[in-house]
């Protein structure tokens, strides 16, 4: 009897926690919060600074590398065909590692295992360019990450991280991106924190940057200890964000203020 009551209570609490989640019909990309100028920059490939990296990525795709002396294209041929829709399913479960890897991590798995080359450093120009090129092949494709049942515990951990208050300011991602996304933080729009456009060009950075870079900026913003690039925690957060954005179209390379 007591146990039943407890379960009922827990279920009610879980229900309450989920109540802050953004309903499907209200999901909005960061794009829709931007000024007309910034939107135009994203929309027009010749004006979009992220496209320069995509072009670099295309060159790297075809360049042989490593002891295997193989290019990405030697295994995957034409990226426009083989990579279409791929980024929409990342982070994905990597059996050999027993954990999820994001797109950057997956590219490095190919570097090490198939090209026998050293992995790219996170946030390096080459890794950003290749991931932008691969993700751009999914432009317009609906996000569909997290289906693999092996991913369930990692999605759950990402969700817990999203809800966890942390840092000297004691704020959680959910406080801003679920509860206050229609508001302004010192005049700047707080968006829903949707991961639709990564890697993307941020005018504030004057550079292309990964989703992990953005997450680390938000974590440092609340004065918490940022997780290291490539850490499982950041991949879990990325994974949760992608499941939260299910069905939203990929926009890579997006532009943000």
């Amino acid at each position: 009897m007591r146990i039943a009551a407890c379960i009922a209570l827990l279920t009610a609490m879980a229900g309450a926690a989920l109540a802050t989640e953004i309903p499907l019909s209200e999901r909005r990309s960061g794009y829709s919060f931007m000024s007309a100028d910034t939107r135009a920059m994203q929309d027009e490939d010749t004006a979009n600074p992220g496209m320069l990296s995509v072009l670099d990525g295309e060159t790297l795709w075809k360049r042989k590398a490593g002891t295997a002396d193989k290019a990405c294209a030697d295994c995957h041929n034409d990226a426009r065909v083989s990579m279409k829709g791929v980024a929409a399913h990342y982070p994905a479960f990597e059996k050999a590692l027993g954990k999820p890897v994001d797109l950057e991590g997956r590219i490095n798995v190919c570097r090490t295992n198939h090209q026998q080359a050293s992995p790219f450093a996170y946030e390096s120009r080459d890794l950003l360019a290749l991931s932008a090129y691969v993700a751009q092949q999914s432009r317009g494709e609906p996000i569909a990450a997290g289906d693999d049942p092996e991913l369930a515990p990692f999605v759950e951990k990402g969700h817990a991280l999203f809800m966890q208050r942390q840092g000297q300011l004691n704020l959680a991602c959910t406080n801003c991106h679920d509860d206050n996304w229609d508001k302004k933080l010192a005049g700047s729009a707080i968006t829903q924190g949707q991961p639709t456009g990564y890697p993307l060009y941020r005018l504030e950075w004057q550079a292309l940057g990964s989703l992990q870079r953005r997450l680390r900026a938000c974590i440092t913003g609340i004065r918490a200890q940022a997780y290291d690039y490539g850490s499982l925690e950041l991949v879990e957060l990325e994974l949760y964000l992608m499941t939260r954005a299910r069905g939203m179209p990929i926009e890579t390379p997006a532009v943000r203020p």
């Binding site: 840092g167 000297q168 004691n170 302004k184 933080l185 010192a186 504030e204």
Partner: protein, 147 residues
């Protein structure tokens, strides 16, 4: 102008000048207030205003107020105009020291607290967001906001 807007909009994400490491001074909560000054003296109104609008104090990331010279203010929280009418000095002090004491679900940070926090970044660990002197300066200023 656009550049300026961007820099300011980066808002929260600028590393602030944290209060220096210090032992927290003891204080007593009476009802919904801390009646006694944390420092034993009253704060400085001019310094208090300067602190409220300074980005590293974080107030106007969330709040707006009578700061016509500040182009970028937040709207996550009540306007600070009239704070001195709505609240007594002691009530304002507790709101700054530990707003969560009054409302566990609030997003307003506790400015004079070091316990019960998770994964605080190395440069901020063990320090309150504001020092006792800074809190007293801000309280002294908020009390003057009478309309």
């Amino acid at each position: 102008m656009a550049r300026l807007a961007l820099t300011l909009a980066a808002g929260l994400f600028a590393a602030g000048a944290p209060a220096s490491a210090e032992e927290l001074r003891p204080y007593t909560v009476v009802g919904d207030a801390i009646p006694q000054s944390l420092t034993g003296t009253s704060g400085d109104v001019t310094r208090g205003r300067a602190l409220v609008v300074e980005r590293s104090s974080t107030c106007i990331l969330c709040h707006s107020g009578p700061f016509p010279e500040q182009a970028f203010q937040g709207d996550l929280a009540p306007n600070l105009s009239g704070s001195g009418v709505r609240w007594s000095e002691g009530q304002l002090r507790l709101r700054l020291v530990d707003a969560a004491h009054l409302n566990a679900a609030t997003i307003m940070p506790s400015y004079y607290r070091i316990d019960g926090l998770t994964r605080v970044g190395a440069s901020w660990r063990g320090k309150p967001i504001l020092s006792a002197e800074q809190i007293e300066d801000i309280v002294a200023y908020l009390v003057t906001l009478r309309n």
